[in-house]
Structure formats: C-alpha cells, structure tokens
C-alpha cells in the first residue's frame, strides 16, 4: 500500500513537470547569445558543457590536461603540432568523434570561404584574438589541419608557437558535431536548434530570454554528470541574482558584485566559490601622443601619486590584489615586482623635474559599463582623480558610450584612461603580447622609441621560443623595461565573486573564470 502511494506520488510529481533535486539552477548575467561561434562568457559557459575542446584544464587550475585529445607533441621548431584523439567517443547525435570532425570544426573557423563558416552572417570574431587572423589574412597563424588517421590530427602553423595547446584549450573551440552543423546550417546554435557535442550534458531546450535547459549525457565518455539537468537563467541585475541565491531559487550564481562578499560570507546558507586567482587585470593607461604623458617621469609620478593598496582594498573588498606587472599571478614570466609605493612627495618632485612644479590639467577617461576587471568604474576613477589632485594633476573625468570609448581608445584620443583584460587562454602571451604587440603598443599606448622596440623584440622572441625557460628569460627582461617605463600602471588583479548554496559541491572556478569548467562533478546534496 505504501509503495502504491509512493508510486502515485511519483507519477503526480512527474505529471506536474517538477524535476526535483536532480536539477541544478545556474544563474548567469545573461543567457547565451549563441551556442555556435560563441563570444561572450554566458555563451561559453553553456557551450562548454555540450561541446568540448581538445585540451582541458585541471580542476581549479590553469594547468592543461587531456580532454578530447589524450596527448600531443610538436616538431622541433614548434610549427607543427600533432594531437592524438580519444578513441571510442561519439557525439550525442550518434556520429563518431574523429580527426575528420576536428578538421571540419577548425576549417570552418579558420577559412572565411568555408561553406559552413557563415561569415557574412556571424563571423567568429574570437578566432582573430587567438589565431591572429583568418586564413590568408595578414598575420594568420593556422595554415591547415591535416588528418593523419582516424584518431590523429596535425596542425600546421605559419610561425612557431610554443604554447599552442593552451590556445586550443580555449573554451571558444569546443568541437561540434559536423553532421549537426550541416543539418542546422545558419540556424545552428540558435534557440530553435541548439548545439551537439561530446560533453557531459546535451542540449534540451532554449526558451529565448528565459532559460536554457541541458540534460545529462548518459553516453558521456568520462565521469557522468551527478545531476540530471541544468537550467541556466540569465539575470542581468547582480542584486537580483544574489537575492535569488539567498531565496534558494538559484543553486549557483556567478559574477556577483564584489560588494556582496560580506553578504555571502555571513550567510550560512551560501558559500563562496572563487578561483585562487583570476587571469584578469585592470589598469590605468596613458597614450603618449598626448603630452605630457610622453615623459616617463610624468607617468612614474602618476604611479607614485596613487595609493593603489587603499583603492584595491576599498573597491574590491578583498577580491582583488594590487597589480604591478602585466602578467598576472599563476602564469610564468613574472618578475614579482611590488607595486609603486604611495609617495606623493616623490611624485611632486618628479613632476617638478619634468617641468610641472604646479601640476597640469588633463582628462581621465573611464568606462560607462561595469567590466569584470573594474566593477564600478566611475567610483574608482573618482578615487584616482582625488589622489592625482593632491600632487597637482587636475584630471577631468570623462566617459562616453562603450562602443565609442573603444574606438577612441584605439585612436589614441585618451591621455589617461582605464581599461583591462581577461584571459582568452592561459599563457602569458595572452596578456603581455596583447598589450605590447607591435601594433597595440602604438595604438594603445602611443609608445615608440628604443625601449618600446626592445620590448616588442623580446616579446616576439618569447612567443616563438621553444623552451619555457627561454621564454621566462625574455619575459622577465621585458617586465623590467615595462615596470620602469610605466607605459601603463597596472592597478589590480581582480577575482570574480561567485557563490553557491551551501549544499552544492564540486563547483570549481579556475583562473580563467567559469567559462571553461565542466559541471559534471557538481552535486546537489
């Protein structure tokens, strides 16, 4: 009789469509934009559960580990990389995962004229940040992908890249089922079609603007997911996201405001889920085409005038560390400098030496939108301007529409500005080379001259060096020049605040954030 009652209850429960404790509800700052050729964090987070790259990350770390590839090696000059693929893996539509599938994916990303590239409708902008350019365009990196046999694939590069596996591990490059891409056409990755991969979860439904539902892939080649399904909700307001977590209607909430750290830590029903460090940096930049920032003494004076430690403590509430260099902790090539001390007297002295005993007037631009590296830009800008005024620098605070901000930054219109960067992949090159590449060093900082050329050469050498020790030497030399010359003042290495209900285990953000972690080990107790 009791069993019958339980059976009836279970049936009723099923009829009402409730999923019970097997559903994880994950709150992000928005729903995915697309599950194909994803760009933004919300899309990447969801796609990573469905489609996996060849290389993954060890839990909580930016160290690489095999994922869809079991091993890899390079030729002598790191221009050819051969990957050995995991065997016996199938996409959730039943088609086999093999070298041809890998080639199909990389070809459609790399070649603008590939029939499945849909470049005219939605180009894969992310390809250009990691592989420099599309095939045939100036500076392109990937020449071709060769299928050596069913489970071996080789990447031929146009120039040596010692850290190629780190590029391929980037969450943009989840391998999608060729059959599904062909069937879906230009609609692949949109709400009506979804995406198909080899991951621990598969796509079930996407109600536009409302939620995306994934269900467990029972045929997964690795550890099967502990929960039956995940519902991703997009909640733009961070305050609402926290409220939902507190009310218990969300199990996981990511990208909360740093101001909420206290609320999370003092609530016994919640627990914090942050990485040890985030590969992210916020900085104050100068463009040297705008005087007087072409004088290194002036730039150094600004660095000395700002009490970095106080600003970081105040605005990041313990979720940021003061930064001194352009390679964040966790990556090789750091010189471990201390940030410039807070020394207004010395700053004034330097300004006097440079010909500004009474300071000068300038513009300080801050962004109008909250960025992961600067959550409250206006407040931080005001604090910085406050310190500058104490040494005589009158910084007028300015801002404009984000899109136009980026354009004007690129055109060198800002004498002083705030900007930042979050990693695309886990290698120092993604930070220091991005800022000090031959092009960016001029467009971002207007930095020219012998010292600038030296940095460009060192970073170019580091990029192509075969051994890690060699690379470290080059980076450290470049670090020193950058530290002394202050083309920009690093401000903070921020850590994003994520939180879960206390009964959730196994949610482990890594230094790249939450966009390249699999959720199959997450349990809801």
């Amino acid at each position: 009789m009791k069993r019958l009652a339980m059976l009836v209850a279970a049936v009723l429960l099923a009829l009402t469509g409730l999923a019970g404790a097997q559903t994880l509800v994950y709150g992000e700052s928005g729903l995915p934009v697309s599950l194909d050729l994803p760009q933004d964090g919300n899309s990447l987070t969801v796609q990573y559960q469905i489609a996996q790259p060849l290389v993954g990350f060890k839990p909580s770390s930016s160290e690489l580990m095999p994922l869809l590839a079991t091993s890899w090696e390079a030729n002598a000059d790191a221009t050819q990389w051969t990957f050995h693929l995991r065997q016996g893996v199938k996409f959730t539509d039943g088609t086999p995962f093999n070298a041809e599938a890998v080639k199909f994916n990389f070809d459609r990303w790399n070649n603008r004229d590939n029939p499945y590239a849909f470049q005219d409708q939605k180009p894969m902008a992310a390809w250009t940040y990691i592989f420099a350019a599309f095939h045939g365009q100036k500076g392109y990196l990937l020449e071709k992908v060769e299928v050596l046999d069913d489970s071996t694939v080789r990447f031929d590069l146009t120039s040596p890249v010692g850290f190629f596996p780190a590029l391929v591990a980037s969450s943009y490059f989840g391998i999608q089922s060729p059959a599904a891409v062909k069937a879906g056409g230009a609609d692949y990755g949109t709400p009506g079609v979804g995406a198909v991969g080899t991951g621990p979860f598969k796509f079930q439904e996407w109600v536009q603007g409302d939620h995306v539902t994934l269900v467990r892939n029972d045929g997964y080649w690795g550890d099967k997911a502990k929960v039956e399904r995940i519902v991703f909700r997009g909640i733009e307001s961070a305050a609402t996201r926290l409220a939902e977590l507190e009310a218990g209607t969300l199990d996981i909430a990511v990208n909360l405001s740093p101001d909420d750290l206290k609320a999370v830590e003092s609530n016994p029903d919640l627990k914090r889920a942050t990485a040890t460090a985030n590969l992210s940096i916020g900085y104050v930049g100068f463009h040297q085409a705008n005087k007087p920032f072409d004088d290194v003494r002036v730039r150094q004076a600004v660095a000395l005038a700002i009490d970095q430690k106080t600003i970081v403590d105040s605005f990041w509430s313990g979720l940021g560390t003061p930064a001194a260099e352009f390679i964040p902790p966790g990556l090789l090539g750091r010189a471990n400098y201390e940030p410039y001390a807070y020394d207004p007297a010395k700053a004034k002295q330097l300004l006097a030496d440079a010909g500004f005993p009474n300071g000068f007037k300038t513009e300080f631009w801050y962004m109008p939108v909250s960025r992961p590296y600067f959550p409250s830009p206006k407040d931080i800008a005001e604090a910085v301007a406050g310190y500058l005024s104490q040494v005589g620098i009158q910084a007028e605070l300015r801002t404009e529409d984000w899109g136009i901000y980026l354009k004007d930054y690129d055109e060198g219109k800002f004498p002083m500005y705030m900007l930042g960067w979050s990693a695309d992949y886990a290698d120092p090159n993604n930070f220091i080379f991005t800022f000090f590449s031959p092009i960016e060093i001029k467009s971002g900082f207007g930095w020219t001259g012998t010292k600038a050329d030296e940095v460009v050469k060192l970073l170019g050498d580091a990029r192509q060096a075969a051994s890690a020790t060699e690379r470290v030497t080059y980076y450290k030399q470049a670090d020193k020049i950058i530290y002394d010359q202050v083309p920009a003042m690093p401000m903070v290495y921020p850590t994003t605040l994520n939180a879960t209900r206390a009964n959730i285990d196994g949610f482990l953000p890594n230094p790249l954030g939450t966009t390249s972690i699999q959720l199959n080990e997450v349990t809801k107790n």
């Binding site: 469509g17 902008a125 939902e244 980026l406």
Partner: protein, 350 residues
C-alpha cells in the same frame, strides 16, 4: 465615421516610414558599430576592418552609386536602407548580428511577455487608481485626500529599480511568499504556444503552471504599475473635481438625487474621459517595454531586448524592434482616439 477610420489607418504609413528612417540612421550616426563591440578590448585595426567587411557594414547606407553604374536601378538600391525597407515590407526584419536569430522570431517571444506584464500592471493601476482617485475627490481637503495623494506621489517618486529590489527582498527572500524573478520556476517544464503563459496554462489545463505563472506576475506587475497608478489617481481626482463642480451636478443634488447616484451616474462617466486617455497612453508606454522592471525581475520582455541591442549596436534588432514598438504605440493611440466616439456621444468622427 468609417472613412475617418480609413484615413487614420492610412496616416500610419508616413509615420512608420519616418520611424524606419530614424531608427536606421540614428544608431549608425552615433558612432561605433557591432564589429567594434564584438571585438571589444581586443580590436586591432586589421581585425576590425575585416569584421566590418564580413558584416556588410561597408555597404553604403542609402544609395549605391558605384553599383548603379554597372547594374542600373538594382545596383542603385543595393544599399543598407533599401534592403531593410524591402525586407520589412515582406515581414522579414533580418537577423540579429550577434546571435543569427531572426528578429521577428525574437519579437514573437518577447512581446507576449511584455504584454502579459503590462496587463497585470495596468489592471493593478486602474483597479486601485480609479477608486482611490474618486475617494480623494469626494473627500477633498481631508486627511483621506492627503493620504491618497501621498500614495500617488510616492508611486511616481520611487525609482522602480529600487522599489523592485526592496520588494524582492521583502516578499521573496524574507517572507518567501513570492518568487524573486522570472516568469516561471526553472524546475517546471512548460511549452507555451502563444507566449502568454496564463492563457496557455488554462488552455492546457495545467493549474500548477497557472498558479506558478500568476505568482511570478505579482511583484513585477505591482512594481511596474506604481507609475501609471500615480498618474491615474491624480487624473481621476482632478477630473472628478472638475466635473463635480459643474452646474448640472449641483442641479441634480438640489433635485434631491442621492449622492451615490450623482457620483456614479452623472459625474463618473463624464469624468472618465480624460482618465481613459491616460490609461490608454500608459498602456502604450508600458507595451514599449519597461526596461528597468524587466532588468530587476529578469523578465524576458522587449524592453530589455531592444535596449541591449542598442548597447551592442545590433542594427537589425534596433531597427526591427523599435519599428515594432512604434507601430504598437501608434495603434494603441489610435484605438484610444476611436474609443472616444463610443464613450462620449458628443464626439463625432467624420
């Protein structure tokens, strides 16, 4: 009367044409573009130019002289605006640049959500606002009147964003009576055919879903309704006062007609005309999408949909979305105008 309706409908066309021109031009003129947004902090001049080409942003805006030379009229019109208008007339508003989802499909998704929320908000605003306004008018100068006017003032003064968060913390997190945000609990599996959850739940006979959807409508509906509430209260009150001061009211009272009858039969109907205007306009405004409410309550409506597109310069969504909203607004206004003829027999449309 019929010819009046026809003329009004036809009058929509130039308005919509004008809107289409503005909605096409302004996002392009204010600077920046989707390619810049796509690349974000990572833009190098080369990748930016290359993206612009891919996205067709380099095609001329209005007319294409270069192509005209080789292809005549077809070439002349091979420009962004003619393409936009040509497709729009065929019901194709293009696809989002960032997601490749057809704009029409998204609007079909987001508009019912906004409509449902608007109905709830207006119901709250009218059901509470009109009686309050009448009470205030009938008790003019008393404490009751002041209290009602205070409520009205508060409604208009409280920022919806702030009010929304407070309501969430009190009723959802604190008391647990209502859900914090969204349209439906994430654990519920429900396929809505029309996009109107209440309607579809009834049609499908899923009472649990109906209850759940209704609970989700309460907080955002009330938050959104506070501003129209304030306006309706004030309008009702002042309109009632004006009517109550009329001679014929005094005559009716002098004749000995009961106060209740005077108010309901003689005063109210006449006082309602301006109130209906305000209700109609508020309805149209809310249908345009309440961005702040939708953001706080994670409500998947057209307000946030179009607003996000503006920030990312997703031209097809901006164009299609704003054109759609403008059309709705203009139609609602037209319906309000038409309704006068039925409410007030003195008004004749020829």
């Amino acid at each position: 009367m019929f010819s009046y309706f026809i003329r009004r409908f036809l009058g929509l066309l130039p308005v919509l044409f004008g809107v289409s021109l503005l909605v096409f031009t302004i996002p392009r003129v204010i600077g920046s573009d989707p390619a810049r947004i796509m690349l974000g902090e990572r833009a190098s001049p080369e990748s930016y130019q290359s993206l612009r080409l891919e996205l067709g942003l380099d095609v001329p805006y209005f007319v294409n002289f270069a192509e005209a030379r080789t292809r005549g009229l077809a070439g002349f019109l091979d420009a962004q605006y003619p393409h936009f208008v040509g497709r729009a007339l065929r019901g194709d508003l293009g696809k989002s640049i960032f997601s490749r989802v057809p704009v029409v499909s998204s609007l079909e998704h987001f508009f019912p959500a906004t409509f449902e929320l608007t109905i709830v908000a207006m119901f709250f605003a009218v059901a509470l606002g009109v009686p309050l306004g009448i009470v205030a008018a009938l008790n003019r100068g008393t404490v009751l009147d002041t209290a009602v006017m205070f409520v009205a003032l508060a409604g208009v003064s409280f920022p919806v964003f702030w009010l929304g968060i407070i309501m969430i913390y009190v009723f959802a997190v604190g008391l647990g009576w209502l859900p914090p945000s969204g349209r439906l609990s994430p654990t519920i599996v429900f396929h809505s055919t029309t996009g109107f959850y209440i309607f579809d739940a009834i049609v499908q006979g899923r009472w649990h879903v109906l209850w759940n959807a209704a609970k989700h409508l309460v907080l955002p509906g009330i938050a959104l309704g506070t501003i129209p509430l304030a306006i309706i209260v004030r309008m009702t009150r002042s309109s009632m006062l004006e009517v109550l001061g009329q001679d014929y009211i005094r005559t009716a009272r002098a004749k000995g007609v009961e106060r209740r009858v005077v108010v309901n039969k003689h005063a109210l109907r006449n006082a309602l005309l301006p109130v209906i205007t305000v209700i109609g306009l508020s309805f149209g405004q809310l249908l345009s999408g309440a961005i702040l409410t939708e953001t706080v309550f994670a409500w998947p409506g057209i307000g946030r949909f179009v607003y996000d597109a503006i920030s990312s310069r997703d031209y097809p969504i901006i164009q299609g979305g704003v054109l759609f909203i403008a059309t709705i607004f203009v139609i609602v206004n037209m319906l309000v105008d038409f309704s006068y003829a039925f409410i007030d027999p003195r008004i004749q449309y020829t």
